[in-house]
């Protein structure tokens, strides 16, 4: 299974290690080479320095047709953009974008991205531990919108940009 991770922070690095150990092909991308210090010496995947929102960079890194694409940088909007490039241009299959703003996380789930919201996750963890009522929302919102992570592509879409778009308006 080809796994692409954008953002080598704690979560990104930990997941990279996890997938790598499980024998999957892992490509991890970060704008800072230093971030790769978080990877263990045993890591056998590829660590590539570059901008994960840039289509050419992602292609050069071999991110096309990834089975799993995780956008986990510290910037909500960078994650949104990377995830949409993955859906539209790279034909990635299962995509998760970390979006810490709950409203934006819900909005993009509506538009067809699976979204992971740290705010909701942590709030609910604390609430549960202290016996309070949480938000009732799942930490990962499954896509509820027009397409489910890029599996419905139309061949007549322009080259490099697949159909089944998030939020494309007619005309």
């Amino acid at each position: 299974m080809k796994t692409v991770i954008v953002g080598c922070g704690r979560v990104g690095a930990t997941l990279a290690e996890l997938f790598d150990r499980a024998g999957h092909e892992v490509i991890i991308i970060d704008v800072a080479t230093r971030a790769f210090d978080r990877l263990p010496p045993s890591f056998s995947g590829s660590a590539i320095r570059g901008d994960g929102t840039d289509e050419d960079t992602l292609r050069r890194a071999g991110a096309e047709e990834a089975d799993v694409f995780l956008a986990l940088t510290e910037g909500d909007n960078r994650n949104v953009m990377a995830a949409q490039v993955a859906v539209e241009a790279l034909r990635a299959r299962r995509i998760i974008a970390k979006i810490n703003d709950p409203l934006r996380a819900a909005a993009y789930a509506d538009l067809g991205l699976a979204t992971l919201c740290r705010t909701t996750l942590m709030t609910d963890a604390v609430a549960a531990y202290l016996g309070l009522t949480g938000s009732g929302l799942p930490g990962i919102l499954a896509p509820s919108g027009t397409h489910d992570g890029g599996e419905h592509h139309e061949p007549e879409a322009p080259a490099g940009v697949a159909g089944g778009a998030v939020g494309v308006r007619e005309g």
Binding site: G75, D76, R78, V80, M81, L103, R104, V161
Partner: protein, 226 residues
């Protein structure tokens, strides 16, 4: 008209001022507090010192009744999200995004942003108009740097158009060897008749270039006249 401008840099600032002067209702969102205060001192209370990417603040700024949202920050990913939130979450009729990286234009259009403004592309276009297109393109230096791989794009004024390769006066030490016609590459044969729009790939000594230019592109005067 109610216009929501997001991003209080130079573009957002002057845009807001012009819109107000033209009698429009405007709210400007700028997440940097100091910058927001600075603009507010000058143009008044239309400035909101919050991040226009956050759904909550967009709602506070009245995004749901905006006629137009203009996302003009310096970060493409922010501009994309602002426009998508405006369109899909607040039903704004018209979204405009500033795009800094020209490579993002197609993606933004495809993702439903109504209008893309690309300053980089505009300046690039302006510069390219000043560069003569009737030139030989150097693809690579070969050997010890004595040989050049060259591409010539044949325009209407080229003396080579309508002639067979064998009838051209190709300088010694120079070889035309490939033809690209409508994106298809083929070997260049002596009896191949060249057409406008063809690209000819040549290899030759550096000093042959002027002669090659005369044969494939035309003399400098001829180019100016054309």
């Amino acid at each position: 008209m109610f216009v929501l401008v997001v991003g209080g840099g130079k573009v957002g600032y002057y845009l807001t001022r012009e819109l107000i002067e033209n009698g429009h209702e405007v709210v400007l969102m700028e997440k940097d507090r100091a910058r927001a205060d600075q603009i507010a001192d000058e143009i008044g209370s239309v400035v909101m010192p919050h991040d226009g990417c956050e759904g909550k603040y967009l709602a506070d700024a009245g995004a749901n009744r905006a006629d137009i949202v203009a996302a003009v920050t310096g970060d493409d990913e922010d501009n994309l999200v602002i426009c998508q939130m405006a369109r899909h979450h607040f039903d704004v009729g018209r979204t405009i995004a500033r795009v800094n990286n020209p490579k993002n234009e197609r993606l933004f259009k495809h993702l439903g942003v109504d209008e893309i403004i690309s300053p980089t592309r505009m300046i690039l276009g302006s510069i390219e108009q000043d560069i003569p297109v009737h030139e030989l393109l150097h693809l690579a230096a070969l050997g010890e740097g004595e040989l050049e791989l060259i591409e010539a794009h044949l325009q209407a004024g080229s003396p080579a158009v309508g002639r067979a390769t064998k009838d051209l006066d190709i300088p010694e030490g120079c070889s035309l060897f490939a033809l690209i016609r409508a994106g298809v590459a083929a070997p260049l044969r002596p009896d191949t008749v060249l057409r406008e729009g063809d690209k000819v790939i040549a290899i030759g000594k550096t000093e042959c270039e002027a002669l090659l230019h005369g044969q494939l592109i035309g003399e400098a005067e001829a180019v100016d006249a054309g």
